[in-house]
């Protein structure tokens, strides 16, 4: 009888531990969201940093400026959004062709010995901490890009975007390669039997069949870029400028939180705005991940359903 009681107690502990992930996600949302609420509901904070201050153009020569520690603090988060978007777009435009090309190559064309080189190398890349990539971008790439393109500033959206791109190559590659090699062999055999070349088979049969997975790979890469912090913090220049010029410095949402939270007065308008930014990051990446995984699942079902 005592044995049974012990078993039940252990089962309870195991069940409780299994709830950690769910509890963790809930607590993250609640404890970050809670600190963001004053932006909506506290009259004092709204006066300083209400939604209209955050999202609408302000009077004066610089309608969208982020100056949280000036006499009259300005919190235009749109500037930061623009920074994040710019770095992310550069990163995806840079990384997607490389990662998808490599995925197609390893899944369809490469001989086995080459696969045995490319795959581990990309695994190594995935294992490089982002602080190291940020450091490399800051010390080496920035100088190289400046010499090559003659950019005005050493650290800018282009450098940060390329470094970010290198960081997400493994993410895009892994998911895309999974999707490509998941396409049933019978598809390829049928195509080859009809006289299609290897490229025709790859581009018109395998690639379209794996398209949802490939899109999901890019979406996951996009989400990872938006949340990535240390690389942009080190390589983007961190100046909150709102321009379409590619080689101007930028300040992203994640880098702003990382750089400013350490010195902020707890409970001030600035503090709550930073948590508001954190909440946005969390909600946005969460939605992107949910969507991408749902997409991949649908693809798996579709392919398994047909074969």
């Amino acid at each position: 009888m005592r044995r049974k009681g012990f078993e039940n107690a252990v089962e309870l502990v195991i069940l409780a531990s299994a709830m950690t992930a769910i509890a963790g996600l809930f607590l993250i949302f609640i404890f970050i969201g809670k600190e963001a609420l004053p932006v909506f509901f506290s009259p004092e904070i709204r006066d300083e940093a209400g939604l209209s201050k955050l999202f609408l153009a302000q009077a004066g020569p610089h309608p969208f400026s982020w100056q949280p520690v000036s006499l009259v603090p300005k919190y235009s988060v749109l500037t930061l959004f623009a920074g994040t978007l710019k770095a992310t777009l550069v990163a995806i435009i840079f990384a997607a062709p490389l990662a998808l090309g490599a995925a197609l190559f390893t899944a369809e064309f490469a001989p086995d010995w080459l696969k045995e080189i490319i795959k581990p190398v990309i695994e190594i890349l995935a294992g490089i901490p982002s602080i190291v990539l940020g450091f490399f971008a800051l010390m080496v790439m920035a100088t190289f890009v400046q010499d090559a393109f003659g950019t005005l500033y050493r650290l800018n959206a282009l450098v940060a975007g390329i470094a970010l791109g290198i960081a997400v190559i493994p993410v895009i590659y892994t998911v895309a390669e999974d999707a490509l090699s998941g396409v049933p062999y019978s598809y390829k055999e049928a195509s080859i039997a009809l006289g299609a070349t290897r490229w025709q088979t790859a581009s018109r049969i395998v690639f379209p069949a794996a398209l949802p997975g490939i899109l999901a790979a890019c979406i996951l890469g996009f989400g990872r870029c938006i949340g990535e912090t240390m690389i942009v913090l080190m390589a983007s220049g961190n100046a909150p400028l709102m321009t379409w010029i590619l080689d101007s410095p930028i300040r992203t949402v994640s880098a702003t939180v990382a750089a400013e939270l350490g010195e902020v007065v707890v409970g001030s308008g600035h503090y709550h705005v930073l948590f508001f930014l954190g909440t946005l990051l969390f909600v946005f990446t969460f939605a992107i991940n949910l969507f991408a995984h749902w997409f991949v699942k649908r693809l798996q079902k579709k392919i398994l359903g047909i074969t």
Binding site: I14, A18, I124, F136, L290
Partner: protein
Amino acid sequence: MIGRIFITLTGLASLIIVLFVLVILANIAHHGLGTLSWEFISSAPAHGMTAGGIFPAIFGTILLVLLMTIAVIPLGVMTAVYLSEYAPKRSALVSLIRLAIQNLAGVPSIVFGLFGLGFFIQFAGVGLDKFFFNSQIVFGQPAIIWAALTLALLTLPTVVVSTEEAIRIIPDSHREVAYSLGATRLQVVREIIIPQAIGGILTGGILAVSRGAGEVAPILFTGAAYFLPALPTKLNDQFMELGYHVYVMATQSPDVEATKPILYGTVLVLLLLTFSLNFTAIWIRSRIRKKMRALR
């Protein structure tokens, strides 16, 4: 003909990626190897970080991931055991837990940093101080325990996924034999599941340590410090850490040229640490897979 060109292009894409990795590693090895010495990894910084070694940062990093491991391994293993051994098949709770783990893995690391500050320090820490220390500040401040717990949550998915993978390849017949002999579920877990999954647990733990040692954003506000005169000895001490050290030295040093050799040396140590961990994990994993193939 056009096909050949496109195939070559995909090969070129692979080549460019491989070259990137080689250039990054070669650059860091080239500049860092000159600094690397026993002296460098065993002594404390001197002369405003322009001389001396990085021992406190190495010590802090190891202590940090050790504390993290103590928290994350039991939680991760029990989650995996629940999912594969205890939970009813195809229950809603199981899919919910899996979904949560998948999404936890996608939460940006800076968000974990905010969470560590908002939950561990200002809620748990300040709460502890209120109840046990007469509102003196003991745990309601950045500390190594809070940084370690934040990293534990961040690396939880790694441990769960790796453990589950190892449990999944245990043949059902092993469980059936045990149950038919009258074993209880706990006995099956203790005598059959855990011993056979130990390689997967180890792999997950090592990968988690490697990930944890490289993350900087989650520890920015939860306990890392640039320079401390003493090593951390208590759970509520602050600590120095390799990645954080690199970040501050690279971005806030008044004289980057003077700190450059030490900076590269630190990056190299960090890379060697994470790589050796990753390779060990990959090696163990491939050995398990081989053994499992042989069993079938």
